[in-house]
Symmetry: C2
Subunit: 450 residues, 2 copies
């Protein structure tokens, strides 16, 4: 396969290539260069024409709860506690394995349609599939975790073993798994340490340095987390939540910490020293009124900061173009400095840094020879993208998910001219509507019984 004639935003040292081309064989990018040269070199390749189009590495959302698309828009604009306890949790309890699979498949389709090629998702393991099956079927790349709580340790242990055995490195290496302690205030200190050992053990048995099982956790989403930890576990918490986790010895370079809103300077230093990766979720943090993560400080300190959509009940979209624009805007406004987070850096967070955050940078995150072919092609021939001075600016400040026309994941064309090839989309939407109806009727039954 040969993509020709487009502007290639490589996100590598090659920068932006005009009239560029990308040669793909099986799942790999085998060459990147000028169209004329590659057309001559790869004469018999099937050609995807990309004139007036912009070719970018697939976007990477490093924090997600894919199945929760089924709850999208069910409850908004409530106080956090009421939102969770009165609305989200009761409806989530009604979700069965099939719902989780359907919800994840819906998110996978929405993601692909918006140029996302990899997501890192935390939800409940389901025998026989769940989120992993949804992602796999859509052709999406992803890290699928099982979320762990102190109140269900035995179930978690079994789930993690089954998840790793059934899914790690599967589907041509597209699906990886992670161990996901929910948060420092829902996972007690002993269990937190145990889950670190569980991850290392799973990694030894199912993973490898190039195909690791990682650790994914919510950290410092709100300011009151130290209090919540003290209250839940009657334990001492000196300083911030990051310092607390570090005192347990669980922080390392294979940890991805979602949110990181309420950080102090010492927390930031620890994140840097341990090589912890941050998933910044600005839309979710604003919507739930959690606050604003000190991203410019994290970047100055040298921490790897990637971007996440978070789940569809706190965003409510799986749209990395929105996340990029809000990230680029928010910190300029809050720090009163218009030079913070320029477009190029933000696009880097959504691609190259996202790959690093998932320890997947050897294979994805840029358009480079030797990497897996995860690519999105955008049509820039539209009024809102006209005129064109600078592709990077347009990608962050103007382009929309709907401008993505063609998506390639692991060398496979999963969307062409906005038609998703891997999933029967109208049937999926019907099924998602039906799942919603069933959820609501199960909820009203459980309420009547309860």
């Amino acid at each position: 396969m040969l993509i020709t004639g487009g502007t290639i935003v490589t996100m590598s040292s090659k920068g932006v290539l005009r009239d560029g081309a990308v040669a793909i064989e099986d799942e790999y990018i085998i060459d990147v260069g000028k169209s004329r040269e590659l057309r001559r070199k790869y004469r018999r390749y099937e050609v995807i024409k990309a004139e007036r189009k912009v070719v970018i590495p697939g976007l990477i959302s490093t924090h997600h709860h894919a199945a929760m698309s089924l709850l999208r828009g069910y409850a908004d604009d409530y106080p956090l506690k009421e939102w969770l306890e009165r609305w989200i949790w009761p409806l989530e309890k009604c979700m069965n394995g099939r719902d989780i699979y359907v919800g994840a498949l819906l998110t996978a389709v929405e993601s692909i349609m918006g140029g996302i090629t990899t997501i890192n998702t935390m939800y409940h393991y389901v025998e026989g599939g769940g989120e992993a099956k949804g992602l796999a079927e859509a052709g999406l790349r992803g890290v699928v975790g099982h979320v762990c709580f102190s109140w269900r340790k035995d179930e978690d242990r079994r789930a993690l073993e089954a998840l790793a055995r059934e899914w790690h490195g599967k589907r041509d290496g597209r699906i990886r798994v992670s161990v996901d302690p929910h948060a420092p205030y829902t996972v007690d200190p002993e269990y937190m340490v145990e889950l670190r050992h569980v991850q290392k053990d799973l990694n030894e048995r199912y993973g490898s340095p190039d195909n690791p099982v990682i650790w994914h956790i919510h950290v410092a989403e709100t300011e009151d987390e130290p209090d919540k930890i003290r209250e839940a576990f009657k334990t001492e918490v000196k300083g911030g939540v990051v310092e607390y986790l570090d005192s347990l010895g669980v922080l390392d370079r294979d940890v991805i910490a979602a949110h990181c809103v309420a950080l102090n300077e010492r927390d930031i230093t620890i994140l840097r020293d341990r090589g912890v990766k941050v998933s910044h979720c600005p839309i979710s943090n604003l919507k739930l009124a959690s606050g604003v993560s000190p991203v410019p400080r994290l970047l100055d300190a040298g921490v790897t900061v990637s971007l996440g959509t978070d789940g569809p009940s706190s965003n409510n979209a799986s749209d990395m173009f929105e996340v990029m624009k809000v990230a680029a805007l928010l910190h300029k406004g809050v720090w009163r400095n218009p030079t913070i987070l320029p477009a190029e850096d933000v696009l880097g967070m959504a691609t190259r840094e996202g790959a690093k955050a998932l320890l997947w940078e050897r294979e994805i995150g840029s358009i480079e020879t030797g990497k897996k072919a995860d690519i999105a092609i955008l049509n820039f021939d539209k009024p809102h993208l006209c005129p064109l001075y600078n592709e990077l600016s347009h990608l962050v400040y103007v382009a929309k998910a709907s401008d993505v026309e063609t998506v390639i994941i692991n060398g496979e064309v999963v969307m062409e001219n906005r038609e998703v090839k891997t999933v029967n989309v109208p049937r999926l939407m019907e099924e998602a509507e039906k799942a919603k109806e069933n959820l609501l009727s199960r909820l009203s039954q459980s309420t009547v019984k309860g």
Copy 2:
């Protein structure tokens, strides 16, 4: 014309009508009700089917610089002073009348494609057309102003007279004009007062209570405005900028103040007491690092707050769906309260309140019998809008400009199935690209000469 079978979000006391219909005759909405009933009543009307679609009042952007689409993405992520002085102003100086017309036409097309039916735009008057001509040709509704500065009073006086004479109330009443003092720090106190008299005079001669000439000004965009006023005019400024303007006697209910970021409590009280309308432009304010307008305080005080995209060189899109989402998110995060600016209120700011802000609420801002037919129809049959619990939530938190399928302005279908009927869009895009190239070459010539 009869729109049937859709969900009608009326933004009036009728609320949300399922399986609703809207009957349109000439430029007016003549009936709103249930599909069954209206289908019987208006048998011979041409039908627009809206099954699985959502019908909303056209969105209203109350602060814009339409012509600046030609500068979109030319310069981003610079400090404000460098951005203006080194980048934007030198290129703007190269713009001719034709450029202003092309830029405005491009913005009008982008606006229509995103469900915007009215914009309030401030730019330079051009003989024979300029922005007014661009809007008029595209079929957009709008208030077109001429921006005034102390350094060109005579030119401004002539421009305002010509603008009002040529354009006020023209094109079936779709185009109105305004008098636009640029800002308190670029318009001296005497000239500010004079421009108020000019507006009143133009209003008497060309306007009427139902068709007023309004006053549009940038106010308190940044914190240093009082200092800038002192420096520019060696005048005393006690308190905030609003208080200063009020001391000149220029504030009244026909004033629309864009930005209103740096306000104190007294300023807010004055805005309320005088009935001044606010145009909140959160994307622009963040991008230029101006800060965050105290919108929840303004709303509590009873001030009319509408939404604006601002011009395309500080946004960089003319997309009210983005503005709605960012407005809904930003204040929740900044005020640490997730119940602030719920979806319904934000949609109100983009429709009903926008109409009030332009003193146009008798004709637009909601879907009601007797109002002008300014309507956008969105296709909700898409994965990212699935499942559907609540249309208002989806409209603010999920829907995109690209979900708008059909747009009606003043009873005329200006876009159908995403095809703009009023403008040759491919040719316009070519012309905008060419205009950009010419601008850059004129700039390099002027730089060589300069």
